[in-house]
């Protein structure tokens, strides 16, 4: 398949080797070629790939891999470590100025997602850091860009400073700063117009704004789907503005996100945040280690746990774990979980964070939308207590009754029952894995 992820590519490559007891130099050569192609296909910049492959080759040919009992796993480990190193150390924090307000400038190409990210960042600062930001509309070029920021401000009940499209962006930014001091806003987020890195006039404008407002942070907003050019864009913006960090957007798409790998390597500026969805709370701190895992299909258990902790209390988690382990997970628990999951975000997001989830048949397509979730709730609520505890007793006539009661069809009831039993199986496999056993029929090369 042409569109499989980097993880699948690497896994199928490794599979060729794993059966073998020993890895020859020829094997390593063949494998690094595959890794190289996979990385290039993932839009990782070719210069970065070259360096990376060189290091992987050295380590792979060395004792580390050749003498290992599980060369395949060892190679993945090496690749993952190198990828993580490439993306830089742990995530960086957002600056706080000693003399408020702290000024953040958002810059980038057209359509990267600056305005949306400005809104998300403001929301993040208020929610996670208890700050009161002022949004500043400096995009006077794109039609309705100011309106867009104002609407976001309304949705968030946050102030937006704008002076229409006739004003000069440099003046708007300067006056916004004075306004923020007056109103005691401790953060100022300046949304600028999208521009090409080769457009000298508009790049000069950014330099002028920078000189006037002396920002504490300049975030370059980059579309995660960007191809080989990501590096040139990041390099130009960095050279001219000395950016302090990068925000990667649209990372919730199916892009392999190679741009993330390259930007840090080339600019040496950290990726601080990642845009993970269209809602205004879907901005996450960027974790290089987790991102490497995610690209490699090793799941993002850490993020999942963090998300869960935000929404679920610990006692509930322990109970759930116990239920998963003993297979006594019922539709009642499912109903309860669904309520909590709904708070966490889209189901497919969560599923994609589970290790090996992309390998489990049926789960890949188990995407539920919000409407479907309501239907599922209705179906479960139409079950008797016994049915919820022991779904095995649900026969044809019971199905008919449930469908009628929930305003759905028998096939929908069937689908839910099937999904539920698949989920139970998956849970069993996962809990088995935690105990050190391997799930039957599933291969987790990283576990």
């Amino acid at each position: 398949m042409a569109f499989e992820g980097l993880a699948d590519r690497l896994q199928s490559t490794i599979k060729k080797i794993t059966g073998k007891g020993k890895v020859s130099e020829q094997d390593v050569k063949e494998m690094t070629r595959e890794v190289r192609l996979a990385l290039l296909e993932a839009d990782v910049n070719f210069k970065v790939v070259k360096d990376l492959i060189k290091r992987i080759k050295e380590r792979a040919v060395g004792q580390e891999v050749m003498e290992s009992l599980t060369p395949g796993q060892q190679v993945i480990k090496v690749v993952k470590e190198e990828l993580t190193a490439l993306m830089g150390g742990e995530q960086s924090k957002i600056a706080v100025s000693d003399r408020p307000p702290t000024v953040i400038m958002m810059v980038g190409l057209q359509g990267a997602g600056k305005t949306t990210t400005s809104g998300k960042l403001a929301n993040h600062l208020r929610k996670k850091h208890n700050r009161s930001p002022l949004l500043v509309a400096c995009d006077v070029y794109r039609p309705a860009a100011i309106k867009q920021l104002e609407t976001l401000g309304e949705q968030l009940s946050m102030p937006v400073f704008s002076q229409g499209t006739e004003a000069n962006p440099v003046d708007i930014a300067t006056e916004a700063l004075a306004k923020a001091k007056e109103e005691h806003n401790d953060y100022v987020i300046i949304d600028t117009a999208g521009r090409l890195h080769v457009d000298t006039d508009l790049m000069d404008e950014l330099e002028q704004i920078k000189a006037k407002v002396k920002p504490d942070e300049i975030f370059l907003v980059v579309d995660a789907m960007t191809g080989q050019d990501a590096v040139n864009v990041a390099e130009s913006f960095n050279e001219q503005l000395d950016i302090t960090g990068v925000v990667l957007t649209k990372l919730d798409g199916d892009t392999r996100g190679g741009a993330a790998l390259s930007i840090k390597a080339v600019t040496d500026k950290p990726i601080k945040f990642a845009g993970m969805g269209e809602k205004l709370d879907e901005l996450e701190a960027f974790h290089p280690e987790r991102m490497a895992s995610r690209i490699l299909g090793m799941g993002d258990v850490l993020s999942l746990i963090e998300k869960a902790q935000e929404n679920v209390n610990e006692k509930q988690v322990k109970e759930l774990e116990e239920k998963m382990r003993t297979m006594s997970f019922t539709f009642d628990d499912f109903l309860e979980q669904m309520g909590q999951v709904r708070k966490m975000g889209p189901l497919d997001d969560l599923i994609s964070m589970l290790p090996g989830a992309n390998k489990v048949k049926g789960l890949k397509n188990a995407q539920l939308d919000e409407k479907q979730i309501s239907q599922v709730e209705a179906i479960i609520q139409s079950m008797t207590k016994q049915e919820r505890q022991e779904p095995e007793v649900i026969n044809a006539s019971r199905k008919k009754r449930i469908a009628k009661g929930s305003g759905t069809t028998v096939s929908q009831v069937n689908r839910l029952l099937k999904q539920f039993s698949e989920m139970k199986k998956m849970m069993k496999q996962m809990t088995n894995m935690q105990k050190g056993k391997k799930g039957k029929g599933m291969n987790f090369p990283f576990m």
Binding site: D43, L109, G227, N232
Partner: protein, 331 residues
């Protein structure tokens, strides 16, 4: 006469083509410089055609965001061709490279499908789709302007009811072009807006209805279903419509553009591509990949911010723009 000379002579035929070509040459200056200077550099460095040479060539093509599959095919073909013609000198291989690349650009398509499928005496419905931030609304604004100047009666439907400010953005373009914009309030059902748009276009005897839609990432199943529904509404109201489904792609996008083209095609049967932001990128390679792997024609390219910078895709001019340097250095 060499192959490139033939291509070149095509552009000397009349002044009009020359002007178009100049526009491409200008707009794609960066694309061309990077791409062909790299090939030239490669040829200068290697004297003989060997494995290392092909490996580096592979890299140059991949760096131009040409799809990895396409590159692999191309390299295979090149290797065979080099063997067949018994080429040893890298300078001779240049001609073969250009030839093969051009072959992919032209594909089996005739020029006809690069034209918009406009109905003669009836309403033409154009549905515009794509991921977030590629330039759908801007492209619609430019397209409406051009169609209006061609004497068409155009109506726009503001089907992006999700993104903040999207409706207002389309309205500004509508004002600029002097065409009507059919809208509902933000958050309303896009299919209903499009339905209204069709009714309005019919009652106003419009020639063209262009439907804007919200940007969506192609892996969001619900949102893709929503798009399929919009298309069904159009089909139901006007048999044979939409006459065009244009997928807007950002030229800076990497390999993911292929996934976009594939998934959007599955949901809405894409008939053509609008390739935006081609003026700022060092790439153009993704066009090669899409034509080779999915056989969807490019109908428009965005070469700048101005209304007239949305150009009908001209494969000849595009190839000329891409290879102008290769041709010049041959002399």
């Amino acid at each position: 006469m060499g192959f490139m000379d033939k291509l070149k002579s095509k552009f000397k035929q009349n002044k009009e083509t020359e002007e178009v070509s100049e526009k491409y040459k200008d707009g794609m200056k960066k694309t061309r410089n990077t791409f062909s200077s790299k090939i030239n550099d490669l040829i200068a460095r290697y004297r003989s055609v060997d494995e290392d040479f092909f490996e580096e060539l592979e890299e140059v093509l991949i760096t131009a965001d040409v799809g990895v599959m396409t590159v692999m095919d191309l390299i295979e073909e090149l290797k065979m061709e080099v063997k067949r013609r018994n080429i040893k000198d890298t300078r001779e291989v240049k001609d073969v490279i250009s030839e093969k690349l051009v072959e992919i650009y032209y594909g089996d398509d005739d020029q006809e499908i690069e034209e918009l499928n406009l109905q003669e005496n009836d309403l033409t419905v154009i549905l515009v789709v794509g991921v977030n931030g590629v330039g759908k609304t801007t492209s619609i604004g430019k397209l409406a302007n051009q169609l209006k100047e061609d004497g068409k009666n155009v109506v726009l439907a503001a089907g992006d009811t999700f993104r903040a400010g999207a409706i207002e953005q389309l309205e500004v373009w509508g004002e600029r072009a002097g065409v009507d914009v059919i809208k509902q309030s933000a958050g309303s059902d896009p299919a209903a807006v499009i339905f209204d748009g069709i009714r309005a276009a019919k009652s106003r005897n419009a020639d063209v209805l262009i439907c804007d839609t919200a940007g969506r990432l192609q892996n969001k199943v619900n949102l893709m279903n929503e798009l399929a529904k919009v298309k069904r509404v159009i089909e139901r109201e006007i048999p044979g419509a939409p006459h065009e489904v244009l997928l807007v792609l950002d030229a800076t996008t990497g390999q993911n553009a292929l996934s976009q083209a594939k998934t959007f095609s599955e949901a809405t049967n894409v008939t053509g591509i609008v390739l935006t932001k081609l003026d700022g990128t060092a790439k153009g390679g993704i066009v090669l990949a899409i034509r080779n792997e999915l056989n969807i024609p490019v109908k428009f390219v965005g070469l700048g911010e101005k209304v007239e910078d949305l150009q009908k895709f001209d494969a000849n001019a595009f190839v000329y723009g891409l290879f102008a340097d290769l041709m010049d250095t041959e002399q």
